[in-house]
């Protein structure tokens, strides 16, 4: 699939910063950033991104809850969602996949290879 626009949702500014640089310069994609699940849902409705990267552990609405909201929304349910989390366990990957995630990327990640990891998950 062709990717033009990526929405990245993470409450940690340091992660948003390095993702912005990686996705725009290595992936050559347009990047939209959100710092909470609520903002992420709003921006997803407004921007209709090609893929959404979603942090798991966020205050307020966490990643899995945001994912469920995305999957319940007729206009957004088709957008692939990749969850990002530190030290992911195999049973967690299974759990997130059951919730409708396209895949999981483990943090930390290499900013030089993050876009290819995303492409790989989308093509799997």
């Amino acid at each position: 699939m062709e990717i033009n626009k990526v929405l990245m949702v993470d409450d940690d500014q340091s992660i948003r910063r390095i993702c912005q640089v990686s996705l725009s310069n290595v992936g050559r994609w347009q990047v939209i950033l959100a710092e909470s699940g609520y903002d992420g849902l709003e921006l997803a409705r407004k921007e209709k991104p090609d893929v959404i990267l979603l942090d798991v552990m966020m205050p307020g609405m966490d990643g899995p809850t945001t994912l469920l909201k995305l999957r319940e929304d007729e206009d957004l349910k088709h957008i692939p969602v990749i969850l990002m989390t530190a030290k992911v366990q195999p049973q967690e990957v299974e759990q997130y996949t059951r919730l409708g995630a396209t895949g999981v990327i483990s943090k930390p990640f290499d900013p030089l290879t993050l876009p290819s990891e995303i492409r790989k998950l989308l093509c799997a």
């Binding site: 992660i15 390095i18 310069n25 552990m57 030290k87 930390p108 900013p111």
Partner: protein, 132 residues
């Protein structure tokens, strides 16, 4: 091609080799900015741990705050190339996750604190910002 910084702003047009060099430079700048923020993060982590050690009804809340900081360090530090810090924060993250899930009634036990202190020290000693 033009390199975008973390604010999404374009710099001047460059060829492939210059592009790689410019990207390295942007990543290097980001890493320095991240490292500049570490003393504040370490101080915050230490503060929450000190509060948690005092006990009281908010003990688990303070420990959960310390856990959140360690969890973030585990995820971010490695992405900025600070592998040892990320690794040690990950150990603390996993330990606190288990401890908090076990719903410790009446506070963490002394041996927990010894372990927590040792793991926190490993985090601080992973980077010059945490060495006194």
């Amino acid at each position: 091609m033009a390199i975008e910084d973390e604010n999404g702003g374009d710099n001047e047009e460059v060829n492939d080799a210059e592009y790689d060099e410019a990207l390295d430079e942007v990543l290097g700048t980001l890493r320095r900015e991240y490292e500049d923020e570490l003393p504040a993060r370490f101080a915050e982590l230490k503060n929450y741990l000190d509060k948690a050690k005092e006990g009281g009804e908010k003990q688990l809340e303070w420990l959960a705050q310390a856990h959140t900081i360690a969890h973030r360090l585990a995820g971010t530090a490695g992405s900025y190339g600070l592998a040892e810090l990320s690794h040690n924060a990950g150990i603390f993250d996993a330990y606190c996750k288990r401890l908090l899930k076990s719903d410790v009634k009446g506070g963490a036990h002394l041996e927990d604190w010894r372990e927590i202190d040792a793991m926190a020290e490993a985090i601080f000693s992973s980077h010059p910002a945490g060495q006194h």
